[in-house]
């Protein structure tokens, strides 16, 4: 497992809190994600993981606390500003733009990196060059996630696992430094999950990206993540390497010991996934 | 003189509050701005007119009858048009557009069937005389209107805030899925709310028709501007906010007409609406059920 580089954390979350009409969904949570690592966020259903993601990506405003990306405070910034600063995310319930083609979806992710203005109306050379480059870049990203063949398909017609990969390609198009992945393996079969594991590793190892991951698939989490933060009822109950977290009494008590489907000692599927 | 204007303003404001409270209840529970609401207002007035003219009923019987007819139409519109969109979890603007189309259809239909001339209640449908308090003259009709509006608003607030039925309605408004898990019949609750809102709109139509003694198919269209202003100023979905904002608008209109100009009076509602959007978008009391985008 990669050891975190010695610089300051890429993402620092401090005292982050969100209340919904009396219910505290996220309660004074602290954690830091080091650059170039995969950081897992785990916890039973309703622990506040997705709320935390929404707070970090700016979809929800926090009741208290702060989020910093590479030392820069993100508090109060709308989602589009955070994207421009290097934050990208995928959604738990797939949210591709289903009427648009696969290629157009990825090109939408490039939005903040494109600058065309009035040139659009006269089809200026600058506009055309930029648009051509954007198309090429989007095709590269689709090839990277294994969807090159599907570029012209309507996104809503893709198979479920492919839509998840499209979401990842679309997030990569934002040219992020940190990608938030909300349950990327949800609804995938073992072969697809295995292919996903390989893809996420390549994001870290080949592209040097930092990933923050919410996931219920424990074998995936344990084999992929460099560090884990465990939430329960909105509070952080543990933080450390997978081995440390697995041995943490509070985690065993609150989470692994509950006997839910997450706790099953499922082996990482070893068979090679045959991705379409 | 001021006292007289205040009395007139409170009576007018009571009808606005009654109208808006049904409107905002519908939004608060269904999450949809149902533009057909203005139709229930006009229909209630016409049903009451018909029952006093055609059936010779007294006003105390015509009022609930008008309300009930409007309530039934509201249930029909909701069942026919909105249930389908709710099931498909369609975006809120789709529901808004459907009610918009239905509104145009119903208004045009009413105008074709009933004519567009202004109609009046038969003479002597209600004669409560008039009372004098010092120099202030209060008409019997005004007492009836204020009394009826007050009773209806208080009854609705008591129902929603203090009864088991109200608890179930609020549960459905808050989270339909969780309410279903608790054994609440969500579809039935939505019908109950549709009926209640439509009936309140209809009752407001009867009272406003009585107040100005003028009934016309498009009366609801003009009332909707006031309705929008009151529910935005009070905060979308906020019943008590609508009550206060309704009274505020009634007073503001009467005082403007008395001391400034009657043309300006018609613009008060819109000015309050826009000012609220600029400075207190979640309503004067900041409790709007709507979330920021």
């Amino acid at each position: 497992m990669a050891t975190p580089p010695p610089t300051g954390p890429l993402l620092a979350v401090e005292g982050l809190t969100r209340r919904f009409q009396g219910l505290v969904a996220v309660d004074a949570v602290d954690f830091a994600v080091a650059e170039g690592t995969v950081h897992g966020l785990i916890g039973p259903n309703g622990a506040g993981k997705t709320t935390l993601f929404n707070l970090v990506s700016g979809v929800l405003a926090p009741s208290a606390g702060s989020v910093r990306l590479d030392g820069r405070a993100l508090d109060g910034l709308p989602p589009y500003r955070r994207t421009a600063l290097g934050l990208a995310r995928t959604f738990q319930n797939i949210r591709v733009f289903s009427e648009m083609t696969v290629l157009e979806n990825v090109m939408t992710g490039l939005h903040t990196r494109l600058t065309a203005g009035w040139g659009i109306l006269v089809r200026s050379p600058a506009f055309r060059a930029e648009e051509r480059a954007a198309k090429a870049r989007a095709r590269d990203l689709l090839a990277f996630v294994g969807l090159a063949e599907a570029a012209g398909t309507r996104a809503g017609d893709l198979a479920y696992g492919d839509q998840r990969r499209l979401e990842i390609a679309r997030a990569l198009a934002c040219e992020p430094r940190l990608v938030l992945l909300d349950e990327p393996a949800a609804g995938m079969n073992p072969a697809e999950t295995h292919a996903l594991l390989g893809l996420l590793r390549r994001l870290r190892d080949e592209r040097g990206l930092t990933l923050l991951l919410v996931e219920h698939d424990m074998p995936l989490v344990m084999s992929l993540c460099d560090r884990l933060t465990v939430l329960n009822f909105g509070r952080r109950i543990a933080d450390g390497t997978p081995a440390e977290v697995r041995a943490h009494p509070a985690v065993i008590e609150a989470y692994l010991g509950t006997g839910g489907h997450d706790a099953g000692p499922r082996a990482v599927p070893q068979s090679r996934g045959t991705a379409p | 003189m001021l006292e007289q204007q205040l009395v007139n303003g409170v009576v007018l404001g009571a009808t606005y509050a009654l109208f808006a409270i049904g409107f905002t209840l519908m939004f608060g529970v269904m999450g949809v701005i149902n533009l057909t609401y203005g139709v229930y207002f006009a229909l209630g007035a016409f049903a009451a007119l018909w029952s006093t003219q055609g059936l010779g009923l007294p006003i105390w019987a015509a009022l609930p009858l008008g309300a009930a007819v409007a309530g039934v139409l509201a249930v029909a519109v909701d069942t026919l048009l909105l249930t389908r969109l709710r099931k498909a979890k369609a975006p809120e603007l789709a529901s808004l557009m459907v009610t918009l189309g239905a509104t145009l259809f119903l208004y045009a239909g009413m105008a074709a069937a009933l004519g567009t001339e202004i109609r009046r209640f038969p003479a002597g449908v209600f004669d409560g005389g008039a009372y004098s308090l010092g120099a202030v003259r209060i008409g019997g009709t005004q007492v009836l209107i204020f009394g009826a509006a007050l009773v209806l608003v208080v009854a609705l607030l008591a129902l929603v805030r203090g009864s088991r039925l109200g608890l179930a309605i609020r549960a459905v408004a808050e989270n339909p899925d969780a309410a279903a898990l608790m054994g609440i019949n969500g579809a039935l609750m939505l019908r109950v709310v549709s009926f209640l809102s439509g009936a309140i709109g209809g009752a407001a139509g009867v009272l406003v028709g009585l107040n100005f003694n003028a009934i016309q198919p498009f009366m609801g269209e003009h009332m909707m501007l006031r309705g929008f202003a009151v529910i935005i100023v009070g905060g979308l979905g906020d019943l008590r906010g609508a009550l206060l904002a309704g009274l505020l608008l009634g007073l503001a209109e009467v005082l403007t007409a008395a001391y400034l100009s009657s043309t300006l009076k018609d613009m008060i509602a819109f000015a309050l609406l826009v000012a609220t959007l600029w400075f207190r978008p979640l309503g004067l009391f900041g409790r709007a059920a709507a979330k920021r985008a």
Binding site: A116 | V98, L104, L273, R292
Partner: protein
């Protein structure tokens, strides 16, 4: 041959004008719908544009170009004041504010003696005509098609499909909504000015709720998959009462019904073809 064409033009002059003007109005409401918002103020913006342009022409003898420019600018300013604050909120607020605007503009025109009050404004000089109307329509159609096939078009469609996801992709939602609303109101204002200068008379009751809903029905019938679709919807709905005379009396009911049926059963409109989003 030319004579026959000339005859045809004089017979159907107002219909030909109407189709072009309504096409521009359909595009104006399309621009707002295309970013997932709903404006019911199109008729009011049209009315403000019509009165602005006509007053400049009638009272000041202004050149047509100036009337047109003012007819675009004044509604745009109004859109900023009325719609501006709603753009950080959900779409319901814009819809409500613009319905209110429609009602209030009617009241203002009705009571504004300088602009003719209830009698309306007559003696508007004939300017522009078919050339200006269809020229404007063609320019707008071309411009919107080019915009649709660019990063802006992609952002707009993304917003319409899923606002939160579009925001996370880096789309500046309030700015796009505001630009769309302002452009849309300017377009409606231009349509009003063009229409006023071919009909010689405008009145305060032409721009009310029914007109706003009718404009919306163009886009809902045609669809919003491409800029061409709403124009097609406008053409059909303008021709329909002429072709089916008995329908003319029930025009408003038909328009209402079309909206209900289109939203419930035909959400893509009658021209469901979707324009590509790459340039």
């Amino acid at each position: 041959m030319w004579e026959a064409l000339d005859d045809f033009y004089w017979t159907y002059q107002s219909l030909i004008h109407g189709i072009g003007v309504n096409g521009i109005l359909a595009l104006s409401v399309y621009v707002v719908l295309a970013v997932g918002q709903l404006s019911l103020g199109q008729a009011a913006f049209m009315g403000v544009g019509a009165y602005t342009g006509a007053l400049l022409s009638v009272k000041f003898g202004a050149p047509f170009a100036l009337s047109m420019a003012a007819a675009a600018a004044v509604p745009a300013l109004l859109a900023l004041v009325v719609g501006g604050p709603t753009l950080r909120l959900t779409g319901v607020y814009l819809a409500i504010a613009t319905i209110g605007l429609g009602e209030i503009t009617r009241i203002v025109f009705l009571n504004w003696d300088y602009a003719g009050g209830a009698l309306g404004l007559s003696g508007i000089p004939e300017r522009g005509g078919v050339g200006a109307i269809y020229g404007t329509l063609a320019v707008l159609l071309a411009g919107l098609t080019l915009v649709a096939r660019s990063r802006v078009g992609r952002a707009m469609e993304a917003m319409r499909e899923d606002e939160a996801a579009a925001g996370v992709m880096g789309v500046n939602l309030p700015r796009y909504r505001l630009t769309a609303l302002v452009a849309s109101s300017a377009m409606a204002g231009v349509a009003g000015c063009l229409s006023a200068h071919v009909s010689s008379f405008i009145g305060p009751n032409e721009y009310g709720f029914e007109a706003a809903v009718t404009i919306l029905s163009y886009a809902l019938l045609g669809g919003i998959g491409s800029p061409l679709a709403p124009v097609l919807g406008a053409t059909i709905l303008t021709l329909l009462p002429e072709v089916l005379r008995p329908l003319a009396d029930f025009r408003l009911m038909v328009n209402g019904l079309i909206i209900v049926l289109a939203v419930l059963f035909m959400p893509r409109g009658i021209l469901p073809w979707r324009i590509a989003r790459t340039g």
